[in-house]
Structures are given as structure tokens and as C-alpha cells.
Amino acid sequence: MARSLWTGSLSFGLVNVPIQLVSGARDLDYHFHQVHEKDKRRIEQRRFCSKEDAEVEWEEIASSYDLDGKQVILTDEELGSVEPRKTRTIEIEAFVDLAEVDPIYFDHPYFLIPAGDSDGTLRAYRLLADVMESEERIALGRFVMRSKEYLAALRVLVGVLAIKTMRFDDEVRDPKDVPTGGAKPKKKALDNAVAIIEELSADWKPGGYEDCYRARLKGVIDKKRKRRKIEAPEPEKEPSPVPDLMAALEETLAQVKKGKSPEKVRAAAAAADDT
């Protein structure tokens, strides 16, 4: 069963639903530990006071902030005092259309599941889920978890309330200084590019993409266990821009129309270059 990361309540107008927050993503990465090479013992990180040169217990640690050169020290209790009074509540502030929220704002996925199984809780949960599902709207709210406030987008996925934490507006950078190339494309070039995209269109099927990095890293670990030699693949050369854009577009379009994959198209072009 999913582990609850936070319990609280979801408030929708004057309706309160007791809920639990569980993660919507799982970490499947291979993780490494720091090990002392000589004796193969796992390194421990310990906290030392730089003045006394002695180890310090967790309880003796405070948080320090540099306010224009002045050191301000805060204890955990003092920091806890600013958590909003309704810190255990996700209050729905507005309903918006999902398409209006760019993915750039999205951070971590979670699910909200009912806390407890009283009929009142389950009915309120079901009502909110049903209504949101039929209205095709997402709700925005915020909550505080581990000393950080999160803006969250609330949706319904297969009858379950799902949330995505979001970045605040000032956490998204202004792209105005990013260089965005030259002139607008000529109509013919654009038509060709659009035609290539149409030819290579596919349905989004997430199950079709496997994490090859994870699989390769597992291969490396297994080889090392068996004391076999590990060799890095030769890095692929970075291709240089083509001299004749129109010709490259037309040739690409002709190839993909014949059902060739982009990989085959590139391979054919590379082979032609070599001769």
C-alpha cells in the first residue's frame, strides 16, 4: 500500500475532506553510496561545529540566514511559527482549464486518497471527484509540507484525485534573452517540415519508451560484479549543419514517405557523405 507522506484535509468551499497524500511517482534509479576505498566501509556524514571542532547533535543545530551581512539565527520552533494556521489544509482557491497551465509549471505528481473510511469522508471525496471529472476543470490550491509551501493543481485520474505540485510564477525564468535564431522560414520550407512531422506522427504511448540508461547502468553493475571489463561506447559525432536546407528537407520527406525511420534516414545520409 502506498505510504502516506502527509495527512490533512482538502477544503472545497465549506466542505472538508480528510485526505492523505501519496506519491504519484516511484524512484527506480540505481543509487550509489559513498564508500571508503581502502576498507569498503560506508562513509558516514557527521555534523561538526567549525569553532569547537567537535561533533554536534541534531538538536543543537539552528538555521542561520545572512540578512545583508547580519547573521540571523532561527530555531525550528520559530520557523514552525510561520506555517500558516491552516497548514494542514489544501484549500481550493479556483478552478481553471488544464490547457491554460503550461507544463513548465509542473513539478511532482501525487495522489490524494481519503483518510479513514467514514461514510461522510468517502461521500465528500466521491462528490468532488465526480464533479471535477464531469466539468473537465482542474482545481488550484496550496499546502505546506516539510517547511515549504506548494501550489498544486488538482485533477481526477480514473476516479482518484491527483495533484501536481507547481512552481510559482517567479520561479519560472523570463526567456527574453534566449537567442531564437534567424528569419521566419519560407513557406515551402515550412510546408516540407510540417509534412515530415505529419509523416512521423505517432500516438503518445508512454509504454513504448524504456529507460535505457537504467538498463545500461544495471549492465555495468552486473559486469563489475563478475569482474568483467567495462567499455564505454564511442560517442556519436555531433553532426554539422547541412549546406542546402531545402535539399535536406526534400530528401528527408521523400525518405520518410517511403516509411523510413529518422534513424534510417540519418544512416543513409551519413553513408552518402562517406562516398
Binding site: C49, Y65, L157, P175
Partner: protein, 256 residues
Amino acid sequence: MAPRSIWNGTVTFGMVNVPVKLYSATESKTVHFHEVHRKDGARIEHRKICPKEEKEIPADEIVKGYETSPDKYVILEKDEIKAAAGDRGKVIHLEEFVEREAIDPVFYEKTYYVGSRDDEDLYRLLFEALKKTGRAGVGRFTFHDREYLVTLRALDDLLALDTLRFHDEVVEAKELDTPSAQRKTSPKEKKMASQLVEMMHKTFDAKDYEDTYRESVLDLIKRKANGEEIDLVGEEEPEHGDDLSAALEASLGGKG
């Protein structure tokens, strides 16, 4: 100030190669503190200690180990870990194009801005074509010796790259066990709830939502700096009323 790029490489679109650079599109504004010793305000240092020798270990004696059974490690050298990164350090091949809006938000991890490395027209061409079709190119991107699944798409007036979670990293709703209520919600309750949703509907503008918690932490720091006494208040739990219809009616009445 011009932004600093974090990666240079080439996006391939069939035989067309577009030289690009990437920029961070997001930055955390969470208030960060240093750990200090309560007693004397001195900085805390994190030291790496070998529990067998009970002494601090210099960085060059520390290696990465993968734990195969308790306290048994397979040691991997930097180059060996690098070998897993694959061979595409500098290229992103767009393999296929999917409808941008078909990708559920659960998959999105982090977004980068994509800039052009030259003044040629290739960048604009790819941008305009992606914008016109509403599609995103799917490819793989290697960053800091790790490979990511990514989509390249048009965002306002530039290209953006999103890293995506893999399907098995995403928890599906059906894996969760949510019990259903014994008494169904009534049509009247549903109608009231729908009305409430409509009343609270608005156009999304990210500027409407500020990190109020961050503001109060900064305010707390200033109050403490001025020598103010900090009031340690407790938190309040809202009440869970059991009468759903009454709560809905009151919500509608209160706002209407």
C-alpha cells in the same frame, strides 16, 4: 545579463541538423539557511567519516559503491558509470512526433529553454513547424552522464525541452485502493457542487499565486533581526462537518 547555457548540442530532424543550447527555465526561490551550532552560531561542517577508522576521509579515498547485500558493495569507477550514459552525448534525435496535449501532466519533470547557436533559419523552421502542428518531437537527451526521455515543443515564441518520467516511474490511479461510499451522493448535491465549481472558475494566470509562505519566512527573519520576540503559535485543524448538503448550501450562499 545574458543567461548562461548549460548544454550545447544538436537536434536532428531527419537530415536537418539544428545546433542548439539549453538554458534552465526554472529556479527555486525557497529561502535557504545555513546550519549553525545553536550555542555559538558557528557554521556546521559535514565531515565524511569512515566508521571503522573513526576519522575524516579525504575525497580522493572515497568511491561510489552499489550495495548488493547489507554492507557489501560493488565499487564503480567514474568512467564505468559514464559508460552507462550511452553514445549520444551531444545529439538529440527527434524520432517521432506526438500530440503535445496528449501527454498527461504526470509525465513532466522539468523544462529547459532551447536557444539557437547561430543566426541561421533552422531554429525558426523547427519552431514554426512544431507550433503549427501542435506536436512535440520525442527523443533522448544525455545530461551529466544520464539519459533522459524528452519532448521538444513550441512554447510561446521559443523551443522548450521537457524531461519526462518513464511509464514505470509513474504510479497509476488503479494501483491505489480507494473505498467507495455506502450512500451515493444525491443529484442535488452534485448540482450544488457543479455550481460551486462554476462560481470559482477563472482564467489561469500564474501571477495570481504567490508563495505566501516564503514571504512570511523572510518577514520572520527581519523580525528576529530586529530583536522581536517570536510568538510560537500552534496550528488549527478545520472541522470535518458530516452534513455534506448543508456545507454545500452554505458555500453557495456565502459566495453568491
